[in-house]
């Protein structure tokens, strides 16, 4: 198929950036290609012409590392439900389509180049408390603590987050609530995480607020965009936990 793509090109953080149109480079695209393989082809053709290829992030290319990150026709990770950009295939498009490709847009995720953004703010949130404070070597036998299958499964549902940032990109306020709440739900659901529950909730929410993410206004665009289908219910649980923890502190 032949396509027209408009790609956000931006030299560096300071550059204003803008869309560039490519048509010649997007001819003869196979439906079996992944979306990123389509961009690889475009990049090869640009390079051969002596132009700078489009910079974009990817690593595992199997939907688990959370590196790939682009907004495709206005949707983070593109049209397929529960699918990262690297797993999106060109079968989703047809001959003659026009595709707009942009980076995640959020004050907390500054653009580094073209489609690549800086997501350090997510690491900062985890560093604020997304862990269980136990040193290596002091763990008891794993089966000495029984954890019901439902509890464990629900922790796993939340732990499936890949930290890609699609939730932030999808949110009209650039809120990181789904990301933060998913980690809190993972840790706070498990008995191992209970002792630090209140402190963890307060510090992670605090870190999220100071990193420049917006507030949640319950649009739940985040849930719809999440490639791992993390449920928006974790946000309600976080809000309850936060209220309880703040109350406990007072």
């Amino acid at each position: 198929m032949n396509l027209t793509i408009y790609v956000w090109r931006q030299k560096d953080a300071k550059d204003a950036g803008g869309f560039e149109k490519y048509t010649d480079e997007c001819k003869g695209i196979s439906e079996h290609m992944s979306f990123l393989e389509m961009l690889d082809v475009v990049n090869d053709r640009l390079t051969e012409k002596g132009k700078m290829p489009i910079a974009f992030d990817s690593d595992c290319r199997e939907g688990i590392c959370g590196t790939c990150s682009m907004v495709i026709n206005g949707r983070p990770h593109g049209p397929w439900k529960a699918t990262t950009t690297c797993q999106l295939h060109m079968r989703a498009f047809k001959d003659g389509d026009v595709i707009y490709i942009e980076p995640w847009r959020s004050k907390a995720f500054p653009v580094i180049q073209d489609l690549i953004v800086d997501r350090k703010a997510f690491d900062t949130i985890i560093q604020a408390g997304g862990y269980i404070s136990t040193n290596c070597g002091s763990a008891p036998d794993a089966n000495s603590m029984l954890i019901g299958k439902e509890v464990s499964d629900s922790a796993m549902d939340a732990a499936a987050c890949i930290g890609c940032g699609a939730c932030v990109a999808a949110c009209p306020n650039s809120s990181a609530m789904l990301f933060t709440a998913a980690k809190l739900a993972h840790m706070n659901t498990l008995p191992q995480g209970k002792p630090e529950e209140a402190q963890r909730t307060l510090s992670m929410v605090g870190a999220m607020d100071s990193a420049g993410f917006g507030n949640c206004s319950n649009h739940l665009e985040c849930e719809a965009a999440c490639p791992k289908e993390i449920s928006g219910q974790v946000i309600a649980a976080m809000n309850r936990g936060y209220a309880k923890a703040s109350f406990g502190k007072r």
Binding site: C65, G130, C136, M156
Partner: protein
């Protein structure tokens, strides 16, 4: 080259205890004066960095991704082994040890493997304490499954995302230490050189992938945990950024490289669909627990839809040839048999390089919901990539490069031939011999990082002076200069071909001549083809842009330039190893049934390569492998 493995005294089950008791300890007040550099934030590097920081060392950790949470360990699906014997099905430390040595086709070091099996149990405890949500039974205990090459159920898992959950556990611990100021994390930093001073590891030179800055980092020890080199084949299940640069640069600074030719080809990957293909996707090996592998008996049937091929016309070749293990034979055996039937012309799908993995029987026996519960996410992934629905039609799979058993040589203490440089995880060579068993890499990475290096590093540092190492030393300046010159050269060539086109061509040479099956003539021709391609690369590669910004073509150029040298070393190793062993299958050495035939008399050793200069042939050294506990025998999975 000194290849003393420093195996501790005593009976095998007491060696590690004895060693730990004899190790010198670092005075707690001195620990924070020691700067430790960790290259890699995967299971091996991340667990090492966090644990060493907990002990009080001053750690700097590096990764090329934008966050330590994205190291390629994240992609492991199937599970992690541990000799817990929670199922009471006869497992033990000794059995895990035995299975690993046998599975490795008698080319690994017994003492290391025994220790691995011993500490495997602590890993599950540690990961659980960190909040890793392993699968559980209704009663609340941990669940297990069995995995290729084992007859007991010892594999722990977290749905199809075991690597992800283990890595997130490691990342959590690492984040805690970053917050505490004990680990300085350098993301989007690529190590380009190892620096040695007076024969000891003293630091590294990195490139900041955003600003392009070349920087030196000094330390009293360098820990390499940079993962595997499967991307030398271009197409593999590895992530796009996986590279040999870190370990190869260390090799060029004097570290011995052991058994580079040992690569693992994973039997269950989605077949190649076109020449634009950028990577291959693994379908977890756990699928072989319930999926049945088959091809048509007759070539003529290959073009038909699978549903049109009668039961009697199907060849369930693994069940037929290996009745005891059936579809659960080890990876090398499963892969080679797939190649065999495809070479016979009985492969399925476009190009004829694919075999069926069929779940119809399992769906009939267990019901669709149960199959969905076990493999739902894998089935979805398959459907997204291929457009086929595996609930109604069999999957098509074919082997792909997956793991590299070879790596930098290390002794029992995980120290390389360069004093002060330790190597962990997939980057070292120590535990899997010529073939790795499923679910054992995660185990090894965490064993090395959580439970081995914290002890062995202390023993090394106890003999070192904690005085700061200065990056103004001439060795750092020289290394920086050579990195800069190399970058300038890439940018100046301004040829006609993209970096990827060279990488693809190298990959094809490697796959054709040094892949699943190898022979003398093919290897010799690769020894001609690779240097010629390398020559062309340095004349004709095109790397646009500058070195002073983020430049992905430049990053790739550096990695491919190293693969172009390393590929030759691999081929050389494969040629010299004139036997078949595990993943290294030399067509000249096979039984009439097509099984690998080892030559224990001449090759029961690790081949360790020493760099001798760009224009000299590297020298091959040997570390003999002796087997006191697991009797040398022909592997049989019949």
């Amino acid at each position: 080259m000194n290849l003393d493995a420093h195996i501790p005294e005593g009976p095998i089950d007491q060696k590690w205890e004895n060693a730990k008791f004899k190790f010198k300890l670092v005075n707690p007040a001195n620990k924070r004066k020691f700067d430790i550099i960790v290259v890699g934030s995967g299971l091996a590097g991340g667990s090492a960095a966090a644990t060493l920081a907990e002990l009080g060392y001053n750690v700097a950790c590096f990764c090329y991704q934008d966050s330590p949470r994205r190291a390629h360990s994240i992609a492991a699906q199937g599970g992690i082994n541990a000799a817990k014997n929670y199922q009471g099905d006869g497992d033990s430390v000794y059995r895990l040890f035995y299975d690993t040595v046998k599975g490795g086709d008698f080319r690994s070091r017994e003492a290391n493997v025994y220790r691995l099996a011993q500490v495997s149990r602590n890993i599950i405890d540690q990961a659980t304490a960190m909040g890793v949500p392993f699968a559980r039974e209704y009663g609340g205990t941990l669940a297990n499954r069995s995995f290729g090459g084992a007859q007991v159920s010892r594999t722990f898992y977290a749905r199809g995302q075991t690597g992800q959950q283990l890595l997130l556990g490691v990342y959590a611990g690492l984040s805690r230490q970053i917050k505490a100021g004990r680990v300085t994390m350098f993301t989007r930093h690529e190590m380009l050189e190892l620096v040695t001073v007076e024969g000891r590891a003293a630091g590294i030179v990195t490139r900041d992938m955003v600003s392009g800055k070349i920087e030196s980092h000094a330390g009293h020890s360098v820990i390499m945990a940079s993962g595997g080199y499967g991307n030398v084949f271009y197409l593999s299940t590895n992530a796009m950024g996986c590279n040999v640069t870190a370990t190869y640069r260390a090799y060029k600074k004097g570290a011995g490289f052991a058994n580079p030719c040992y690569t693992q080809i994973h039997p269950t990957c989605i077949p190649v669909s076109g020449d634009y293909q950028s990577k291959l996707t693994l379908m977890s090996e756990s699928l072989r627990n319930d999926g049945r592998v088959w091809v048509p008996k007759k070539k003529e049937d290959c073009g038909k839809k699978p549903s049109q091929i009668a039961e009697a016309d199907r060849d369930y070749y693994l069940e037929r040839k290996y009745p005891a293990f059936g579809n659960l034979v080890p990876r090398d055996v499963a892969s080679r048999n797939a190649k065999l039937v495809c070479d016979e012309g009985r492969g399925v799908g476009p190009g004829g390089y694919g075999v069926y993995l069929d779940f119809a029987e399992a769906i009939g026996r267990l019901g669709r919901p149960a199959v969905e519960g076990r493999y739902g996410n894998l089935f979805d992934m398959y459907q997204r990539i291929t457009g086929d629905d595996p609930y109604s039609t069999p999957m098509r799979i074919y082997p792909a490069v997956h793991y590299t058993m070879g790596g930098l040589w290390v002794d029992y203490n995980l120290q390389s031939t360069i004093p002060g440089m330790f190597v962990l995880g997939e980057a070292n060579f120590s535990d899997h011999g010529a073939n790795r068993l499923g679910a054992s890499a995660l185990m090894q990475g965490l064993a090395d990082g959580y439970f081995v290096i914290p002890y062995t590093l202390g023993n090394y540092l106890a003999g070192q002076n904690p005085k700061k190492i200065d990056t103004d030393h001439a060795a750092f300046k020289e290394a920086e200069k050579s990195c800069k010159e190399r970058i300038d050269t890439f940018l100046a060539i301004d040829g006609k071909r993209t970096v990827d086109s060279f990488h693809k061509e190298l990959g094809k040479i490697m796959w054709d001549h040094c892949g699943m099956a190898r022979n003398e003539a093919g290897l010799k021709s690769a020894l001609e083809l690779i240097p010629a391609l390398r020559e062309e690369f340095w004349q004709n590669v095109k790397v646009p842009g500058s070195g002073a910004t983020l430049n992905q073509s430049l990053e790739k150029a550096g990695r491919v330039a190293d693969f172009l040298e390393f590929g030759e070393l691999m081929v050389r190793d494969a040629l010299e190893r004139d036997e078949s062993a595990g993943g290294h299958f030399r067509e000249e050495h096979q039984s009439p049934e097509g099984e690998a035939v080892r030559d224990d008399e001449n090759f029961a050793h690790a081949a360790v390569w020493e760099y001798k200069g760009d224009n000299a042939t590297p020298v091959r050294h040997k570390e003999p492998m002796t087997f006191e506990h697991v009797k040398l025998a022909t592997r049989s999975y019949k």
